[in-house]
Symmetry: none
Subunit: 225 residues, 4 copies
């Protein structure tokens, strides 16, 4: 009742005295700025201009530009890893589970381009900030563990090629899904944008799934004892 509903109105300062909301606001705005311009290209003033609070708060809560960047990176990972939890594969036959996983990853990365831009920027910085994070490493085990279980099921069922490595399989799926987004601009500029239309992406998605399936699937030779 007392608090104004219009959060975007800077003069209605109902969001004040709510540190978590202020920090979230800063991170949200900063993520766009960093994702678009990189660490050195980002401008603190531009971030401040888009925030509900004053520039000073960036330093109050994050210390400096790099501190803010580090937090944005953690936030980006947390959000994307959170989204991955939605996927459940346990009640599907192994090959269908693989197909679903690849399709889901492909879509998930497409839907989070800013996350992938942060990842690219981190690679420019040799993953220095990621390595310093204490929480990001904890988020990463799930994907590979899920694949580990799935491979075990597929091998037990006799539908998977033997000797599959979960980490390398994860690498392959990531390669396709990341490259599709992270390198879209240069690939498009070099070879045309056909692959990046709705139709082109649908075809690519099908093909990527098919490629992984073709690799994972047990070849005929292995079938007979």
């Amino acid at each position: 009742m007392a608090k104004p509903l219009n959060e975007n109105d800077k003069s209605r300062q109902g969001w004040k005295q709510n540190p978590e909301a202020v920090k979230r606001d800063i991170i949200r705005v900063a993520m766009t700025e960093f994702a678009q311009n990189g660490l050195s290209g980002a401008r603190v003033d531009r971030i401040a201009a888009s925030m509900k609070t004053s520039k000073r708060m960036i330093y109050y809560y994050f210390g400096d530009k790099e501190g803010l960047y580090a937090q944005v990176l953690e936030y980006a990972y947390a959000k994307v890893r959170e989204g991955e939890k939605k996927l459940s594969l346990d009640d599907l036959p192994p090959l269908e589970a693989i197909a679903k996983l690849v399709g889901f990853t492909f879509d998930h990365h497409r839907n989070n381009p800013d996350f992938l831009r942060m990842v690219m920027i981190e690679n420019i910085h040799h993953a220095d900030y990621l390595r310093r994070s204490e929480i990001i490493p904890k988020m990463n085990s799930a994907a590979v563990e899920r694949l580990e279980k799935l491979i075990a099921r597929g091998e037990a069922d006799g539908v998977f090629r033997s000797g599959l490595d979960p980490l390398r399989l994860h690498w392959q799926i990531s390669a396709f899904s990341v490259f599709n987004v992270a390198n879209a601009d240069t690939f498009g500029a070099n070879f045309g944008s056909a692959l990046f239309t709705a139709k082109g992406q649908a075809a690519l998605r099908r093909e990527v799934i098919e490629t992984i399936l073709a690799y994972v699937r047990k070849p005929r030779e292995e079938e007979t004892p």
Copy 2:
């Protein structure tokens, strides 16, 4: 501090009066700087400090920092595309040719990490500078055309799956080869560096080739009429 008067007899002051040599020197040094730090992270002063000539020459020959960056980008593409010409596939059976092509691309990208960093940086900049180049687009057709011919051969020989799209196949091969280098730092930080040791890379290389082959190869069902 003081420049030696007699670096070696042949080149002593010989690079002066030779604009092309001066430009090449600048570009070579600038490529390292841009590849390591990105466009906004690169420092004109650092480039100048590593050069044989003075900072003023950068502006004399390239106008400004962005002009230099654009030239470096073109140089990077030219060098890598030049290297790709060494590969000849025509005298190999189609499947072996594919295997060789994938392996070569994987290796070639590994051997040119600075080129891939420039590509990532271009993606951060939405490929704006690449798009403005007049020479880069001309260099790119070869790869896809070569695949086109190869696919035709493979289909004619009855060893390739039907309906393969050369552009999408190029995309897949690129995805693996680019991701391997461009995302090595974050992937390594997230999942360990096992895949990036000499042994890990060899296994990955084999697997990548096998994956593409598994996809390209005509499946058993298609064999019988």
Copy 3:
């Protein structure tokens, strides 16, 4: 981060509701900060971080940083002048009293380096804050008055040179005792630290006493009528 609820039973929140104790705590902490860093070099945040109470209290009790500085200065003078009261010279022969006074002053200043740093800082500020104090001027008469009496005794006893000026004599004693502490760092850096070891200080102390005595003592020529 979180303050313990039970620091120790007696003082638990006991200093609250006790404005004088809070002010003393602030002044004590602030004196260290000002003495170490000067007025402009001191940081309100650092003072606050070392206090038992919050930063807001500084402004509540002292108005602003300069107000706090002024109070710290007064406190520093009060403490040192208080210490000087311990010295009684009345029951000693005049020359011995001088020797004791010089030695005491030398020691007293050595034992209160923060006071002397405040004095130096005040000199940097042209003694502006000292001049505005209402209580400091009242504390200073004692030293000169004591010397006045002592000189009278010494002259009456015929052991002192005639025409001694108490203010100038106080100035001489101060010069030695203050310089010894206030300029120890630069003197040591320029000429080595030999004079500032325990042994060096002892020798210096003896010499300083001897110098003042040599000056104060009635020369032989004056002895005979």
Copy 4:
């Protein structure tokens, strides 16, 4: 002829392209600012406003504020030590030479208050910048060496007390001469300004000389064998 005579006219930029002149100008202006306000109290913008060149040059030539401060400190020492060379004592009898030296030092420090303010500021900083200087230590030996020679002469002539230590004697002379300037403001505020009028200073000067002489002079007891 071609160069404008009016160096103060900013629009006549004849001083340009003369790095040494520019650096000297900056140092001269900066010394006033640092001497008046200390290191943290000094404002780069204020220095810039008083200079003939732009603020940017401070960073071009001195790196940062601390770098400039360090250079100013060296300049202050160099200038004062240079001035001390003017004094020659060799053709005077030892006691007269001491009197002249003390009087000269007293005057010299009075005439260079900004130097002494720099020294005080250095003491606030624990002589950190002085210690890092590579040239200041080399300037300091002269004063003590001169005293060493003088003491040797005085002892040989039988007019000096035996066992005089040159370093400690230098310390005494410095104590008086430095204190007189460095602590003038607080001493004046505490005890009145009588000692700092022309007349007061003359009396003080005489007394300081007399005090040192009284100490140095061989006492009567020592005269007879």
